[in-house]
Subunit: 226 residues, 2 copies
């Protein structure tokens, strides 16, 4: 899957590129509207991520021109927050979906998956490892039939871990996926949150198998053997 990112802020463009590449998308980047338009019309992308405010040509303008040219590549438009009424205009211009900055990287991924009509990543909304269940539609977490109350960040972290069971996830990787792209999060913060999760899902279940493992020097992993 090839994705074109049109975004003038290099920092943001780069984080998106790196993040998407880790998810095995092929990514090209354009830093202004006209470049974006040229690339979108000459190459064959599966998806275009288009910032609304761009030098040389506005995002809305780019979208309109592409549609006029009968290029129907799905477009996901980005705007700064507080421009809520742009939504209608954005969708009118031909965009297929719409996301306000700043956003969590996971949300961007979810929208991309939706637009690419990919079968949602085990989209039973219910993730399960051993006797631990996480339901993404009711936002509930259970272990051994006991409900566990998590804060939203704890939930996001656990969801991310559970979507990649038995895989080692580095702290940098976790930061990129669970926090916003521009969040300046120390690796220690991840350590602290892993600690919180352990207090809630492992420590009270001493009888059961411990689920969150530390792989010193590499990262964390949920599930699998010691």
């Amino acid at each position: 899957m090839r994705i074109l990112v049109v975004e003038d802020e290099h920092k943001i463009a780069n984080s998106i590129r790196v993040g998407l590449e880790q998810e095995n998308y092929a990514v090209d980047v354009a830093y202004d509207g006209t470049d974006g338009y040229d690339m979108a019309s000459s190459e064959d992308y599966d998806l275009i991520i288009l910032d609304r405010m761009l030098p040389r040509m506005e995002g809305v303008e780019v979208a309109k021109k592409l549609r006029e040219k009968k290029i129907h590549t799905p477009i996901l438009m980005l705007t700064a927050k507080g421009q809520i009424q742009d939504r209608v205009e954005g969708l009118d211009s031909g965009a297929d979906d719409y996301l306000t900055k700043p956003f969590a990287f996971e949300e961007l991924l979810a929208r991309i998956r939706a637009l690419l009509r990919r079968p949602q990543n085990s989209m039973g909304t219910s993730l399960m490892i051993e006797d631990l269940t996480l339901n993404t539609s009711t936002f509930s977490v259970k272990r051994n039939d006991k409900y566990i109350k998590l804060s939203s960040k704890e939930f996001a972290l656990l969801e991310y871990l559970m979507r990649h069971p038995n895989q080692i996830l580095s702290k940098e990787h976790i930061i990129a996926h669970v926090w916003n792209y521009d969040a300046d999060i120390l690796p220690n913060t991840v350590e602290v949150y892993v600690g919180y999760l352990r207090n809630k899902i492992d420590k009270p279940f001493k009888e059961e198998k411990q689920l969150i493992h530390t792989l010193r020097g590499f990262g964390y992993r949920i599930g699998g053997e010691k």
Copy 2:
């Protein structure tokens, strides 16, 4: 089900179209009265949503002409607010129901469902959670056999919550469904209205189970356990 939307404001027409398509209706749009009239008389629609103020031919006029031509497709007429005395005229002209702009999308859907259901059973739905009942045809709410008086916004919010019992609904989600498209509603407004509802349906029933739950960081939920 095929629906014809006759509305000259492209922005509104488009939002309605997108929204209805998401509900699996097939939607055609006409942007003025004569086009609307032509399409309505040549195609076979299940419902026509007709704006009152239209270029080339007034909504009322379109409705009258259709009825003269023995086309009895249900018509839902839209007017700008503050034109309340138009109601009689609108209904006289042959419209079956009547909605003032701006409206919440959920309300439009409810009316559409009502109109499309009319031939079969004209029974309004009754939603129930524990000892709380909400009747959408009489617009009445009861708890423990006591009638509770709600404003229309409160009613709309409660109806939305009760149509999704045991589900967590985020403030953004609630705004999108209970308020109208271009309403610029702060999340705090939802908090306030949830407060109003609590004052009326939970606080006076301290003995009973409390029904409206806050899930910090996620949203609100009606029904279900603490």
